[in-house]
Amino acid sequence: MKTKRQIQKEATRKIILNAAYQMYANEGFSATTNQIAKAANVSHGTIFVHFPTVDNLIICLLERFGSEINEHLHLLSEKDESLETFLAAHINVLICYEDFYKRLISEINSLPQEAKYVFINIQSVVSFHLNQVIEREKEKMAIKEIPMHIIFNSWLGLIHYYLTNNYLFTAGSVLTDHKDELILNYIKLIRK
């Protein structure tokens, strides 16, 4: 059983991670620990009690984000889901985290190396589910002869382009407004 002190420590850690998530989503990864401490309503020093470095804070946050996406996507994925259903599930998950995800894909190259590896592993969860759907479609001879990584990277490239250039397409959420169009036309590109 956890002590009161442990429970309090975990709660504070969670508050800091939530504040960091919101701050990075709003301001980008250049947001300072001072800003995060203020948003979390904790002292600046408290952040470093829980996360020894800023890099460590970012990596822990990305790991938590990856676990949430993993769980969310797994719950939405059904055993025999169609390609349309899976792609819609992927977009729906991203809509829940849209502002943060947009910052993440725009700034990933300037984040620490370990964060880049966490990012790859977040995408591996998506590629795992998409691969299962594509394998089933291939058995039905329904997909063009395209290597799996090109199928996956084309999908990711498409949604990342719309996300990073949101302003070109809508004043609101680009994934919400263009979801149906993106899914429909992506499938036209890869299906026989």
Binding site: N70, L75, N121, S124, L130, H149, F152
Partner: protein, 80 residues
């Protein structure tokens, strides 16, 4: 919800578990035909191959990313 100790996949349905056995701590993808769990090297290589196949990564990058992921998982704590 349980997550696989060897790859981190959430396990919600019976079919997610090795041999459909919900008392197992690892998933169907981390089990061999006899139901035992993959070794560290087997799992590492299969994850590297999978990452290259599905994301087209350079092999050295895939290896680093897989090691980074495996380091966090309970099954492989002793391997690093």
């Amino acid at each position: 919800m349980k997550t696989c100790i060897a790859c981190g996949m959430p396990m919600k349905k019976e079919s997610d578990f090795a041999m459909g056995d919900t008392s197992k701590e690892y998933c169907v993808y981390c089990a061999k035909a006899d139901g035992s769990m993959h070794s560290f090297e087997e799992k590492k290589q299969s994850l590297i191959n999978f990452t290259i196949k599905t994301q087209g990564l350079d092999e050295a990058v895939a290896e680093k990313a897989v090691e980074n992921m495996m380091r966090q998982l309970p099954a492989w704590k002793e391997c690093f």
